[in-house]
Symmetry: C2
């Protein structure tokens, strides 16, 4: 399989798996944002905690650039 | 024109226009991330300032949800 196709598939699988860890009843949503044209891939947390506190943050942002995987942002270490 | 198609086009135009404001020689990159399947649209700043300080931040995050435009995050007021 072409390396680029494999990278795209793996990154999307990884982020989708992480997003699914969140329970569906959780008011915070885990969004996966996949721009397969420009090869930007993100996992973002969006929602309201206790209906009053806004939660917004990019958890992971991975790009494919010149055939290489770039971790642009890794917020998983903050948790 | 269908409202949804118009919304998609307008949001992408807006974010692309904002991203283009940045000079090409700027070490900070303005990325547009468009997930047209799940209707998530972002403008993100990524790069290094003076080769030592990491710059990373979502400037705008707009979704289309149930036919409506949701501004999930607006970082433009911080500037």
């Amino acid at each position: 399989m072409d390396k680029l196709i494999l990278y795209r598939e793996l990154i999307q699988k990884l982020l989708t798996a992480r997003a699914k860890l969140r329970s569906k009843s959780d008011p915070i949503e885990s969004q996966t944002i996949f721009d397969t044209i420009k090869d930007h891939y993100q996992l973002v947390h969006v929602g309201w905690k206790d209906s009053s506190t806004r939660i917004y943050g990019c958890v992971l942002h991975i790009d494919i650039k010149d055939g290489k995987i770039w971790v642009q942002h890794d917020g998983t270490e903050d948790a």
